[in-house]
């Protein structure tokens, strides 16, 4: 069975042969470890496929990962203080509520990048202004949501023209230990957006993968109702037991292993973590995938161990 076939078996609960595993290396991590990291990558073709020496430009940062300021198609100005990591929006085009009325989404196509829906709202309004909108619920809140959603639906149509088997989306919906807004407000304003987007994917026969940082336990049932097929939640902010209780067997989970601990854990703690995730979330019919993103503060030997243990436990299905 190919990796791809096995991946789809896992997300469709169709008895994969192994647990799909992946390791994402942040650009800043490449820039720090360079050839030494490349050695590890070359030793793990099961994870990194047919990567060849020299495939990556260690310092080749793109877009908002580059130092300095950068204005995106929506008019949001980004600033980056640490090249190789993401920047932050420092100038929002719609700081006054009334600006929402005349605002037009971009004419150009930007796809559905990370932060396409909820985060885009605060990139446009500013986080605090958006939160005040959620508190006061003026008509402009819905108008803004509709404009962003309208743009996203169009972009999605374009992406779906290629008939992809899977649409991969990312939007950080949670904080470390709660949602930013009340779950009921999330259900009122945001659930309909994701429901419409995901329904469109399903109509075209594409499955939906959604990444979200942060604590999202209270809205996982709503996300399931929206039609998400694969959820990529942060383990630390949600807890393995909670994820098992709420989502196991209902949707596939591509578990974002604990990046907030990787830099500090011993190798055996890393092994225990991966073992625990497999033990508590895996089912013979599938539904579990594992992903580890490594930041530049994860020691090289820990990166190597993450790869080794992922390979070791991927067969314990």
């Amino acid at each position: 069975m190919t990796r791809e076939e096995n991946y789809f078996k896992a997300i469709r609960f169709d008895y994969p042969e192994w647990i799909p595993i992946s390791v994402r290396i942040m650009p800043a991590t490449w820039a720090k470890y360079r050839e030494a990291l490349e050695e590890i990558v070359l030793q793990h073709p099961v994870i990194f496929g047919d990567y060849e020496k020299g495939n990556i430009d260690f310092d080749g940062f793109e877009g908002t990962y580059r130092e300095g300021e950068h204005t995106d198609a929506w008019g949001c100005v980004w600033k980056n203080v640490s090249p190789g990591l993401e920047g932050v929006v420092v100038k929002c085009p719609l700081t006054r509520r009334e600006d929402v009325h005349t605002f037009q989404p971009p004419n150009e196509h930007t796809g559905l990048p990370h932060g396409f829906m909820f985060m885009r709202l605060y990139y446009l309004r500013g986080f605090e202004e958006l939160m005040i909108d959620f508190a006061e619920e003026p008509p402009e809140l819905q108008i803004l949501i509709d404009k962003v959603l309208g743009y996203n639906l169009n972009e999605l149509d374009l992406l779906l023209e290629e008939n992809p088997a899977l649409i991969v989306l990312g939007d950080d919906l949670g904080n470390q230990d709660s949602l930013p807004i009340h779950p009921q407000k999330w259900i009122k304003y945001l659930k309909p957006c994701y429901a419409r987007l995901f329904a469109k994917c399903h109509q075209k026969g594409s499955l939906v993968y959604l990444h979200s940082d942060g604590h999202i336990l209270e809205i996982i049932p709503a996300l399931i109702e929206c039609g998400v097929d694969v959820l990529n939640p942060q383990v630390g902010a949600n807890g393995i037991d909670n994820l098992a209780r709420i989502a196991k067997g209902k949707i596939a989970i591509d578990l974002d292993l604990d990046r907030q601990h990787f830099p500090f854990w011993t190798l055996s703690q890393i092994e225990e973590h991966i073992h625990e995730a497999v033990e508590k979330l895996s089912l013979p019919q599938g539904g579990l995938l594992l992903i580890a993103e490594v930041a530049p503060d994860v020691p090289l030997k820990s990166i190597a161990a993450i790869c080794e243990y992922l390979e070791k436990y991927k067969s314990s299905i």
């Binding site: 640490s82 920047g87 932050v88 005040i132 508190a135 904080n175 807004i181 830099p263 930041a295 503060d297």
Partner: protein
Amino acid sequence: MASYSELQQCVISGDKTRVKELTQAFLDNGKLPKEILDEGLIPGMAVVGKKFEACEFFIPEMLLSARALNAGLDLLKPLLEASDVKPIAKVLIGTVQGDIHDIGKNLVSAMLRGGGFEVIDAGVGVSPDQFVELAKETGVDIVGLSALLTTTMTAMKDTVQAFESDGSRNKIKIMIGGAPVTTKYAEEIGADGYARNASAAVEMAKKLIGAR
């Protein structure tokens, strides 16, 4: 005449207009600015903090209350200054070097202001030397450090050390916070306190001032 509990209630419900009206009414009736602050505005915000801890309030409600409180504070501030009433303490707060997350830091600032502190915001990506310089310039009592990344937590340690090397460490208290930070880490790096959220940050700041 309205009661302080009504003023507290308006802070809790985030009714900016009413908070302003009531604060003005208390002033017109000869109440002392300090009393309006201590009996009305601050206790109202303390309830907001508790509701936030209990997940009854989320960020929108907390910020709405903070804005309502500010509407009252704007009227009181010039009067408090004129009568030489000092804030509880001055806090310098910033996100450490290499880190751009500012949502949590801004919430902590809002709650500290609501708790009667004067807050000076140093922004994001603040280097250890900048913290030391700013703390000196502004003469703060507490320095608050925020870090949301494991990669930037180490800059907290560097900042504590910069205060040590400068010889000004004993003039200030340092409190830290952010998603990956813990009490244990605060102890390890020699900070004076850690708080897990904006409402706990107010309690911690008060404790640190009390311990001075």
